[in-house]
C-alpha cells in the first residue's frame, strides 16, 4: 500500500523531471510522457481506492523532514476514505484533461512546458491530499498555487494573462498567510502538525476559543485557495489561462483544496461551532454573490468561473454546517460536471476561433452534436435535475443545512434554494445563447466544426460521470454508498425534525425547473444577453463593483504608503544608514591600510606578536 501511494505521487514527478529537463528535445513526445505518467498514477489510485473500500487505511511517515526540539515534521502519507476519494477524483479528471490537452494545445510553442506544469500540478495536488500532516499539506498547497500561477500566466506574452497570474498569486498569498498562521497557532498550542495527533489531542487540550481561532485562520487559507468572499476575485481572471487549465485547476481540483482541508479538519470545526457558522455564512454569501454576477455575464468561461465560485460556496455551506460528507460529495460530482463544462467550453472556443463572447454564438447544436449534448448533460447536472449527479449532492447539502443546528440554518437553506434557482437560470441561459437559437455571427458560425476525437472522448467520459456518479454513489439520499464510505472519516450527518426528506427534494427540484423555465421564457422573447439600463443589472454587470472597491480600499492606500516610505524612509533613513556605514568602513580601512605595507616580514612580525600575546593569555593561569 505504501509503495502504491509513493508511486502515485512519484509518477507525475518523474514526468516533471523528464519533461522539464528534456522537454525542448522531446517536443510532441512530452505529451505522451506526461499523459502516461498520470495514467499510471490513475491506475495505482484506483488500486488504492479498491483497497480502501476493502477497509484498508494507511498513515505512515516516509522521511523525517524537520526535527527541532520536540517538534517533528515528516514527509508522510495518510490514506483513508477521504483521501482515496480525492486522489481518485484528481487522477481521473486530470488524466482525461491530459488527453484533451493533446488536441487543445497542439501546435503551441510551450507544449512540453505545458505538460511539465500540468504534471507538477498533479504531483502537488496529490501531495496535498495524501499528506498526513498540515506542513506537508502546505507544501502541496503552495505547489498547486505555484502551478496555478504558472498556468494562468502560461501565455505570458499577453499582459492580461500575466496580470491575472500575478493577481491570483497575490490574492492566494493573503489566504496562505492565514493558513500559515493557523499552522503556527496549532504548533504553539498542540506542538504537532500530524493530523492524527492534532485530532487526537485537540479535544482535550484546546479551548473553544483557540479551536475557533485555528479553524478561522485555516478558513482564511481555504478562502484564498477556494475563491470565497472576499478572496474570490482572482478566479474569474484566472480564465486567461488555457481552457484545460481552467477545467482542471480552477474548476475540478485545486479550488476544492480548501473544502478538502476543512473537511479534513472536521474535528477542529466540530469543536468550534462559531467557526462552522462563519464558514457556512461566507459560503452562502459567496454562492449568491457569484451566482448573481453569473446571471448577466456574457463571457462563456467567466460564467463558468462564477458558477464555480458559487458551487464552491455550496460546498462550504455543507462543510460549515457539519455535513462534511455532503460537501465532499458535491466536490466529487462538481469535479465531473464542471470539468466537463469547461472542456466543452474549450471545444466551443476551439470551434469559434477562440471567441468567448456568448453574444456572438448561437445555434451551434447542429454543428457540434457531441459538445452540445455533453454540455447539456453538465447543465442538467449542475441545475440539480434528477437523476443527474448534481441533484444528489446538492440536495444532500441543502438537506444537511436544513437539519443542522447552525444559527439561522433555515435562512441559509432558503438562500441556498434561491441560489439553486439562479444556478439553473444562468446555466440554461448559457446553453440557449450558445447552442440554440439563430447564429448571431454567421461568419463565425460558418467556420464552426466539431473538435477532434481526443477532445470529444474526454467530454463523453466526463459526461458519463456527470450522468451516473451521483446516483451510483448517493442513492438513497443521506444513506448512499458515499455516506457509508466517508462516514468512517467524517462522521454521519444527523437528521432532525422539520420538513421531511421528500418535501426538501421536491423543493430543490422545483428550484432547478424554475430557473429553466425563466431562461426558456426569456430565450423565447429574445431578451437573453441583452443589456438593460436597470440599475440592478448595471450593478451585477460590474460585479458589484468589488474590484473597484478593493482598488479604492486596499490597493490605493498601500500604494500611497509605499510611495511615502520610498520618499521619506528609504531615501533618507535607510540610504543614510547604508551610506554612513560605507563612509565608516572607508575611514576605518584608511586607518588600517597604514599597516598594510606589503612587506611580508613585517606581517610575520605582527603575526608572531599576536601568537605571543595569545600564548601569554593561555599560559598565564
Amino acid at each position: 500500500m505504501l509503495t502504491d501511494v509513493i508511486l502515485i505521487v512519484l509518477f507525475p514527478l518523474i514526468g516533471v523531471v523528464i519533461n522539464g529537463l528534456l522537454g525542448s528535445r522531446l517536443k510532441k513526445a512530452s505529451g505522451f510522457i506526461g499523459t502516461a505518467a498520470i495514467g499510471l498514477s490513475w491506475a495505482f489510485a484506483l488500486k488504492v481506492l479498491v483497497a480502501v473500500m476493502g477497509g484498508a487505511t494507511l498513515n505512515e511517515n516516509v522521511y523525517e523532514w524537520i526535527a527541532a526540539g520536540t517538534f517533528r515534521a515528516s514527509v508522510g502519507f495518510q490514506v483513508d476514505a477521504l483521501s482515496a476519494i480525492m486522489i481518485t477524483m484528481v487522477t481521473t479528471v486530470s488524466f482525461f484533461i491530459h488527453i484533451y490537452s493533446f488536441g487543445y494545445m497542439r501546435g503551441d510553442r510551450g507544449f512540453s512546458r505545458f505538460y511539465t506544469y500540468l504534471n507538477l500540478f498533479v504531483f502537488s495536488m496529490l501531495v496535498l491530499v495524501l499528506a498526513n500532516n498540515y506542513l506537508l499539506m502546505f507544501v502541496g498547497w503552495e505547489g498547486v498555487g505555484l502551478c496555478s500561477y504558472l498556468l494562468i500566466g502560461f501565455w505570458y506574452e499577453r499582459k492580461s494573462a500575466s496580470d491575472a497570474g500575478k493577481k491570483a498569486f497575490i490574492v492566494n498569498r493573503i489566504g496562505d498567510f492565514g493558513f500559515l498562521l493557523g499552522i503556527f497557532l496549532m504548533v504553539h498550542t498542540l506542538g504537532t502538525v500530524q493530523f492524527a495527533e492534532v485530532f487526537g489531542r485537540a479535544p482535550g487540550v484546546l479551548s473553544t476559543g483557540a479551536a475557533t481561532a485555528i479553524a478561522l485562520l485555516l478558513f482564511v487559507g481555504a478562502c484564498g485557495k477556494s475563491a470565497q468572499f472576499p478572496l474570490y476575485v482572482w478566479l474569474p481572471d484566472a480564465m486567461e489561462g488555457p481552457t484545460p487549465v481552467s477545467s482542471l485547476i480552477h474548476a475540478a481540483t485545486m479550488v476544492t483544496a480548501g473544502v478538502y482541508m476543512v473537511a479534513r479538519s472536521n474535528v477542529l470545526y466540530s469543536m468550534a461551532p462559531t467557526a462552522g457558522a462563519v464558514v457556512a455564512w461566507v459560503g452562502v454569501f459567496t454562492a449568491l454573490l457569484a451566482a448573481s454576477i453569473a446571471l448577466v455575464n456574457t463571457d462563456i468561461k467567466r460564467v463558468l468561473a462564477y458558477s464555480t465560485v458559487s458551487q464552491l460556496g455550496y460546498m462550504f455551506i455543507g462543510v460549515g454546517v457539519g455535513a462534511y460528507t455532503a460537501g465532499i460529495f458535491h466536490l466529487f460530482t462538481h469535479a465531473f460536471f464542471k470539468g466537463l463544462m469547461f472542456l466543452a467550453a474549450g471545444s466551443v472556443m476551439h470551434a469559434m476561433s477562440d471567441e468567448l463572447d456568448m453574444r456572438k454564438m448561437g445555434g451551434l447544436m447542429g454543428k457540434m452534436k457531441i459538445t452540445g449534448w455533453t454540455f447539456l448533460i453538465g447543465t442538467l447536472a449542475i441545475a440539480g435535475i434528477p437523476p443527474l449527479s448534481g441533484f444528489w449532492s446538492k440536495d444532500e447539502i441543502l438537506a444537511g443545512v436544513y437539519h443542522s443546528h447552525v444559527p439561522g440554518h433555515t435562512v441559509i437553506w432558503a438562500l441556498g434554494v434561491i441560489g439553486a434557482v439562479m444556478t439553473s437560470f444562468y446555466m440554461f441561459r448559457l446553453i440557449f445563447m450558445t447552442f440554440f437559437g439563430a447564429p448571431r455571427d454567421p461568419h463565425l458560425h460558418d467556420h464552426a466544426h466539431e473538435s477532434p476525437a481526443n477532445m470529444t472522448v474526454p467530454l463523453v467520459v466526463l459526461a458519463a460521470g456527470s450522468l451516473l456518479a451521483g446516483a451510483v454513489a448517493g442513492y438513497p439520499i443521506g444513506n448512499g454508498w458515499i455516506n457509508h464510505f466517508l462516514g468512517s472519516v467524517l462522521g454521519h450527518t444527523s437528521h432532525g425534525d422539520g420538513l421531511s426528506g421528500g418535501v426538501l427534494i421536491a423543493i430543490s427540484v422545483l428550484a432547478g425547473v424554475a430557473g429553466f423555465v425563466v431562461a426558456l421564457t426569456m430565450h423565447r422573447s429574445g431578451s437573453l444577453g441583452v443589456a438593460s439600463g436597470n440599475p440592478l443589472y448595471r450593478l451585477l454587470a460590474h460585479k458589484w463593483y468589488v474590484d473597484e472597491i478593493y482598488r479604492a480600499l486596499v490597493i490605493r492606500p498601500i500604494h500611497g504608503v509605499a510611495l511615502g516610505l520610498w520618499h521619506v524612509f528609504d531615501t533618507i533613513v535607510l540610504d543614510g544608514i547604508v551610506n554612513g556605514l560605507g563612509y565608516l568602513v572607508k575611514g576605518i580601512s584608511w586607518i588600517s591600510s597604514r599597516f598594510q605595507t606589503g612587506n611580508a616580514p613585517v606581517y610575520a612580525l605582527w603575526m608572531t606578536l599576536g601568537v605571543v600575546v595569545m600564548l601569554y593569555l593561555v599560559t598565564s593561569p
Partner: protein, 101 residues
C-alpha cells in the same frame, strides 16, 4: 637513565624559537623557508617525545603526516621562489611588496 620528556619539549621550544627568529630576521626567501622547516621539525620532535611519554603511536603518525605535507609544501614553495626569481631577479622578501595591492 631516561631523559624526562620535558627536556625534549624545552629543546623543541628552543629550536622553534630559533626558527621564528630566523623567519623574522632573514630576508632571503630560501633561508626563511629553511627556518620554517626548522620550526616544523621542532614540533615533530615534541610530537615524538609526547608519543613516547604517552606510550601511544598517534604522535608518530602525526609526524609522518607532517613530513608528507612538508614535502609537498617545500616543492610548491620552491617552485614559487623560482617563479618569483624569474619575474623579479631577486629572492629578497623585502623587495617583494606586491601584497600591498
Amino acid at each position: 637513565m631516561a631523559v624526562p620528556t620535558s627536556y625534549y619539549v624545552i629543546l623543541s621550544a628552543i629550536l622553534f624559537a630559533i626558527g621564528v627568529a630566523g623567519v623574522l630576521t632573514r630576508r632571503n626567501a630560501i633561508v626563511i623557508f629553511m627556518c620554517i622547516e626548522l620550526m616544523l621539525n621542532a614540533v615533530n620532535l615534541s610530537f615524538v617525545a609526547f608519543a613516547r611519554h604517552l606510550g601511544h603511536g598517534d604522535g608518530q603518525v602525526f609526524v609522518f603526516f607532517v613530513m608528507a605535507v612538508a614535502a609537498a609544501e617545500v616543492a610548491v614553495g620552491l617552485a614559487i621562489i623560482i617563479a618569483l626569481f624569474r619575474n623579479r631577479q631577486t629572492v629578497d622578501v623585502g623587495e617583494v611588496n606586491l601584497l600591498k595591492w
